[in-house]
Symmetry: C2
Subunit: 319 residues, 2 copies
């Protein structure tokens, strides 16, 4: 990397894990450096400091100063306004009513453009970029939380208050646990990785989702019961988005999405069971429109890199 | 009306009532003639004949032959493809898997352009045209069925299979009644006018919804219980659409929507109760974004007139 080669940094801040990369500001090619670390939650100031440190460490690893980066793009959960860089209601990160002006604070400290967007929106953009012929899709992120990013007819659907896709906070089970948002039985409280970890704690270094699906595949009756109930709740999330906006494709992603084929099979089975008695649902074929996030690619990071690139002046990338 | 003045016909076919008008093909002004009659359901061929007869009667009342009309626009429930004029899964009209080529059949019989679209889509377009500054809204039709029409950023969102807004067939109550679609406890099975009529049959000429809200206002405890449960289910429909696409406005319409202010108040109360413990939901203020369809206007007919006008050659309307 020469000083004249423009680079960008990108972060995908999840409820559990933060990933980051340094990538070229133009052209194809893999990231130059990447990192992955637990997300530090609970206090907005600490979150800002840690994210700043992550960008700093990435820049060092790439052999550049932060000030030499063209821009930083950050995906983060919650209600995010990409214009003001304001984050609210990232309930799994400890950000609530009080706004966190993440872009301004990191931008002031770095002296370069910093731009933030909702992580599911960026993952949807990233998935649309990676999957061919997919300018109409929903990215269903099942991680610590549950959220959807929507690319409809080629454009991100943000909604009037930046809440489009926040179906994680739709109550679906009156007997379910209280959600971090304050309601009871939200999709996020029953269909997230955190919900699954409560029902199937892993003690052998595997993720709870991986452990659960392995135990179910091995024939454990309690694991099968937990898996099928979980898959039923994920199927409800797919049905919500399928009937509300009817996207061409629903992409299963997030940390639980990494379970891969067994998750896809379980959710498809739940969707087909629902459609069994309903010609309308059978015809909509939501099961057939469900797909896994592409293997070996982190759509959220792809989207965050694209976001950062969009803030680098075109002249700087024409080399 | 002179023979040179171009007219269009428009129908809004509901699960219970069909309304129709003859209007001028261009310019403002009220319909020239209008009609309202029970919808004949259960047999697609009979439905086609009756709708043809309705257009015929409208034309006669306006003093013209059908062949003199510029076009006919029809809104109808179900999965509707406006390009092919195909209707499927209008479960309250007896149209299922087998497609009804409504536009072709009426067009062949009339010899003029006939165009069909989903009734909730047309109502959303109509509401957007009537309400100022509203190019981003959901029209929640609560009639015999429950369906949503979406105008997002000024454009109808139809979805990949024409199913966008079909949240009436989202199961929300595992203990609810079986829905006509074949699933159990769908929003349509608990939050529709038909669901309300089962719980509060009216015997005095009032609509069940009007009778229920009047009895509740008069202090009847059972009426209050039925009303509040119903309003809670409608609030769930608003939450589904609010969290999925976050429209600027949600317009309450359909036959039950005619209850007006008491319905709006009950659904708002249910939404505010949900938001009570949730800063995120409180911030989204779905209650504040809920509105009644404009008084004295049938948005579905406004949309159907616009649809018909769009098929009249521009030269014919320039007078």
């Amino acid at each position: 990397v020469t000083p004249l080669e423009h680079l960008v940094a990108a972060l995908d801040v999840g409820g559990t894990t933060t990933r980051g990369v340094i990538a070229r500001a133009a052209g194809p090619g893999p990231p130059l450096v990447s990192t992955r670390a637990p997300t530090v939650t609970g206090e907005a100031d600490v979150l800002v400091d840690v994210l700043g440190g992550t960008v700093s460490a990435l820049a060092s690893a790439a052999g550049v100063e932060i000030g030499e980066l063209g821009a930083v793009g950050i995906g983060i959960p919650g209600i995010v306004d990409p214009v003001s860089g304001r984050v609210r209601h990232a309930v799994n990160l400890g950000v609530g009513d009080a706004p966190l002006y993440l872009a301004d604070r990191l931008g002031a400290s770095f002296g370069i453009p910093v731009v933030v967007d909702n992580d599911a929106n960026l993952a949807a953009l990233g998935a649309a970029a990676v999957l061919d012929h997919s300018d109409d899709l929903a990215y269903l992120s099942i991680g610590t939380g549950v959220a959807v990013g929507l690319v409809l007819d080629g454009r991100i659907r943000r909604g009037w208050r930046g809440a489009a896709g926040e179906i994680g906070h739709l109550p679906v089970d009156p007997d379910g646990p209280v959600c971090r948002c304050g309601q009871r039985g939200c999709l996020e409280a029953v269909a997230s990785g955190a919900a699954l970890a409560r029902q199937w704690p892993a003690d052998d270094g595997l993720s709870p989702a991986t452990a659960l699906f392995a135990a179910a595949a091995a024939g454990s009756a309690p694991a099968i019961a937990v898996r099928d109930r979980f898959a039923g709740h994920v199927a409800q999330a797919v049905a919500v988005i399928g009937l509300a906006v009817d996207p061409a494709l629903v992409v299963l992603g997030g940390g639980v999405g990494e379970v891969g084929a067994p998750l896809l099979a379980a959710v498809r089975a739940a969707l087909r069971a629902r459609a069994g008695g309903s010609p309308l649902l059978a015809d909509l074929d939501l099961a057939g429109r469900l797909a896994l996030a592409p293997d070996g690619v982190a759509p959220g990071l792809v989207g965050a890199v694209e976001l950062a690139r969009s803030r680098v002046p075109a002249a700087a990338t024409e080399r």
